[in-house]
């Protein structure tokens, strides 16, 4: 992917924010949310190449798009989530709907369909999920039967139901996953095709302005050239191939929405006077409701960016990384929004302030594109293999790298991060010795610890770099303090929770508790309060009232 440079990205984000400021003030978003209304005209404008042309970013240049890199698209997704997660979801659904074509389509199909989406500004939808097949796509029941003419397959007749389809009722075309005689396959189905219909727009908890429908396919005929890739049975691998990338985009949603909630809370804290001073100067308030979220969100950002750069450098798949990014960022965003309501007190609980809506909206990021629990399983599965293949050295080697990092840059908490990875390694090894991964609960908790440890390591690498990413909004002192806060928390969490997990499921092996390094991890907690106070002061300074 060619991609843009940081100036071009900055200009696009400015254009997007300016559009939102004019066209989507909070009162309008609140109305759309209340009335469960899909803003079709807004989506048209977002896709209008004279106004924004946002959809062109995901389409390669050779098919009439702008060929944005993964990093570019992450930045736009984050900015969209700052504006409104429902609008973001509608844009994203087109990204997602065109992905099977981009990844699995023949050259001719890519030229035709991607060119058409670019030129005719089409909204797309991604139809994988079914009433009885969500995360478990193997349970797929939509069928595509051959239509044979003159001894050749002329097309397919598709029958089945799709559930929770973003843009389902408004998309100009949908890609539909169906079981063909040769196995699961993707088909392009255009709006208005006979037998293809959408049910009513769902009445959802959040992202209410994003159109979500069930789709019904009743003996829908599509010509053979609408089979993506031209070969049956590629559907699941085509779906899998983009997860690293698409989950990164949902991670960006969690990041953007989480920060939007947190920034609102910080701005409020500067204005709200309580017992003689602003809340932003109250240690108990800031260290509970603000600082930990900033640290977690920035750690997730570091991991997202690391993965985006690797995808842009040509790495394929990165499913485990995409899942780590999604798990870390969306859970951090959800928690930040929850505490933002608390931070605004009674005001936070009303619809006059946006945090209540952000909280309802951001919850979806922990569910769609794979639930957090599916992410935990995927992460554990992926890294467990690495642990076994490397004979237990996978995380030890990363810990050693963090030790070296700490030697050259002692201010980011890489020593705590190294302790976190070593503790994780011991926990994984203990689980192997005692065969504890036979418990589903154990595997999922391991997935959580792995995600936390790896985001922590990525944060340390980013915070010790010579040049910071263009996305860092704080000075080095603040960003490194946030990194240390996160590293300390991660080390203690993994050590204590991991020990509890192993001992709860198995037996106490001699030496296990000592091997976790609890003493060293506790020693590293020194200075935690000072760092949090520094972060509190800097965060309050960084987000002034508008």
């Amino acid at each position: 992917m060619t991609g843009l440079d940081s100036i071009a990205r900055g200009l696009m984000l400015d254009s997007l924010r300016d559009y939102a400021k004019r066209r989507l003030p909070y009162e309008e978003l609140r109305r759309l949310d209340r009335e469960n209304e899909f803003p079709a005209d807004v989506l048209k404008e977002l896709y209008d190449p004279e106004i924004l042309g946002i959809h062109l970013l995901l389409i390669p240049q050779e098919y009439g798009g702008l060929g944005g890199s993964t990093f570019d698209i992450y930045r736009v997704c984050e900015a969209l989530a700052h504006i409104d997660l429902g609008v973001a979801t509608s844009v994203f659904a087109t990204f997602l709907g065109s992905d099977p074509i981009r990844v699995g389509g023949t050259e001719e199909q890519r030229r035709f369909w991607l060119g058409k989406i670019a030129k005719e500004r089409l909204l797309a939808a991604y139809g994988a999920t079914e009433p009885d097949a969500g995360s478990d796509l193997v349970a797929l029941s939509t069928r595509a039967a051959h239509v044979v003419k003159n001894g050749k397959i002329a097309g397919y007749r598709i029958t089945g139901n799709k559930q929770w389809i973003s843009n389902g009722g408004v998309a100009d075309l949908a890609v539909i996953l169906a079981l063909a005689p040769g196995g699961p396959s993707w088909f392009v189905v255009e709006k208005g095709t006979e037998g293809f219909s959408a049910n009513a727009h769902e009445d959802k908890h959040g992202i209410r302005l994003s159109n979500t429908c069930a789709l019904a396919l009743d003996d829908v005929f599509v010509p053979a050239e609408n089979l993506i890739g031209g070969v049956e049975g590629q559907g699941l691998s085509q779906a899998q191939a983009v997860f690293g990338y698409t989950r990164l985009m949902v991670a960006a949603f969690g990041l953007g929405a989480g920060w939007e909630a947190l920034e609102t809370a910080i701005r409020y804290s500067r204005q709200r006077i309580q017992s003689g001073g602003p809340l932003s100067q109250k240690q108990g308030y800031m260290l509970k409701l603000i600082v930990p979220h900033a640290a977690r969100l920035e750690a997730a950002r570091a991991f997202i960016e690391d993965t985006a750069h690797r995808l842009d450098a040509g790495k394929h798949g990165l499913q485990t990384e995409g899942s780590i990014a999604k798990l870390a960022a969306t859970e951090a965003g959800n928690r930040a929004a929850e505490d933002a309501i608390q931070a605004l007190g009674g005001y936070g609980y009303t619809k006059d302030f946006p945090v209540e809506k952000i909280k309802r909206d951001v919850k979806i990021t922990c569910i769609y594109e794979g639930t957090s629990e599916m992410m935990e399983m995927t992460v554990c599965r992926g890294r467990w293999q690495e642990h076994l293949k490397s004979r237990g050295t996978y995380y030890e080697e990363q810990a050693a790298a963090l030790d070296r990092l700490h030697a050259s840059c002692p201010t980011v908490g890489a020593d705590s991060a190294a302790l976190a990875l070593r503790a994780l390694n011991k926990i994984l090894e203990e689980c192997r010795l005692q065969r504890l991964t036979r418990h589903q609960h154990v595997t999922m908790r391991l997935g959580e610890y792995i995600a936390q440890a790896e985001t922590c390591a990525a944060f340390c690498r980013a915070a010790s770099a010579d040049h910071y990413s263009e996305t860092v909004r704080f000075d080095a002192q603040t960003w490194q303090a946030l990194c240390r806060i996160h590293a300390r928390e991660t080390a203690a969490d993994i050590c204590l929770k991991g020990a509890k997990l192993v001992l709860g499921a198995g037996a106490m092996n001699p030496g296990f508790a000592d091997a976790l390094g609890l003493g060293a991890i506790l020693a590293k907690q020194a200075g935690a309060l000072e760092d949090q106070e520094l972060a509190m002061k800097k965060l309050a300074e960084s987000f002034r009232s508008r």
């Binding site: 843009l4 100036i7 071009a8 254009s15 300016d18 559009y19 004019r22 209008d48 042309g53 702008l66």
Partner: protein
């Protein structure tokens, strides 16, 4: 006839109308404040592009600043400008409005024949409103300041020049320099994504002091006669008093005041 050549002079400024001043040094604190194209200049770029759409013209954008000032040139290119020049050189550092006007004037000379130069009325960081007029003086061409409208017909420019209580229509023959004042409800226009990408392929040159033939003693700190003594918020202008009445009554009241305030004592 050759197409008209328009040059727009722009500046990258911190995005805030409440810039904080360092109490020790008296300079602006820019850290952490995002940079934008000076809104007055943004308006000047849009006006130049309107004239281009109407008459056909080549629009060049010119700025002086550090390498990161490229961002505002790229914005102007994305909005539709044809080429952009960045004057960037350590020798320019510390230039005041005098030295800046000289350098920009030299760069415009290097560009060759120029029919119209547009500037914003002032930059929102320094608020001097001196650089536009300074360029006109350097180039020895007429200037019309604080314009919200410009029209061109037969190489004759007609501009609406703002004054305190209204406006004047001023005419001048090209070449001329106008400083532009946006209307109250002005909102800068932003480019679409495809236009941002198109701008990546347009000409953006960086010129050094040597390349514009600037004399070393005329630029940078050496070429800057201004010494900033201190920066402070000026006291608010007191409100005037309006009297009504006949001429005789008013003359009497004014005389009273002049006497009371001791203006008439010899």
């Amino acid at each position: 006839m050759n197409p008209m050549k328009i040059v727009v002079c722009v500046k990258q400024v911190p995005d805030t109308t409440e810039v904080q001043v360092d109490p020790q040094t008296g300079t602006l604190i820019r850290a952490g404040v995002p940079s934008i194209l000076n809104p007055y200049d943004h308006f000047a770029v849009e006006k130049a592009l309107e004239l281009k759409a109407e008459h056909g013209a080549e629009v060049s954008v010119l700025t002086m600043g550090p390498p990161q000032a490229q961002a505002v040139l790229r914005l102007a290119l994305a909005l539709g400008a044809d080429r952009a020049m960045l004057l960037s050189d350590r020798l320019f550092a510390g230039s005041d409005t005098w030295a800046t006007s000289y350098a920009l004037g030299r760069a415009i000379r290097k560009l060759g024949r120029t029919d119209l130069i547009l500037c914003g009325q002032q930059a929102i960081d320094g608020d001097t409103a001196q650089v536009g007029p300074g360029i006109a003086q350097n180039l020895r061409i007429p200037q019309i300041t604080f314009c919200d409208q410009v029209e061109i017909e037969d190489r004759q420019l007609k501009a609406r020049h703002h004054i305190d209580d209204g406006h004047e229509i001023v005419q001048a023959r090209l070449p001329v320099l106008c400083t532009m004042t946006p209307p109250q409800d002005y909102r800068p226009r932003h480019p679409s994504f495809p236009r941002v990408v198109q701008a990546m392929g347009k000409v953006l040159e960086t010129w050094t002091a040597l390349e514009i033939g600037a004399e070393p003693g005329m630029i940078g700190l050496k070429g800057s006669p201004t010494q900033v003594d201190r920066v402070y918020a000026p006291p608010q202008k007191e409100k005037g008093v309006v009297f009504t009445g006949t001429a005789a009554e008013l003359a009497g009241r004014i005389l009273d005041i002049l006497q009371k305030e001791n203006f008439l004592t010899p």
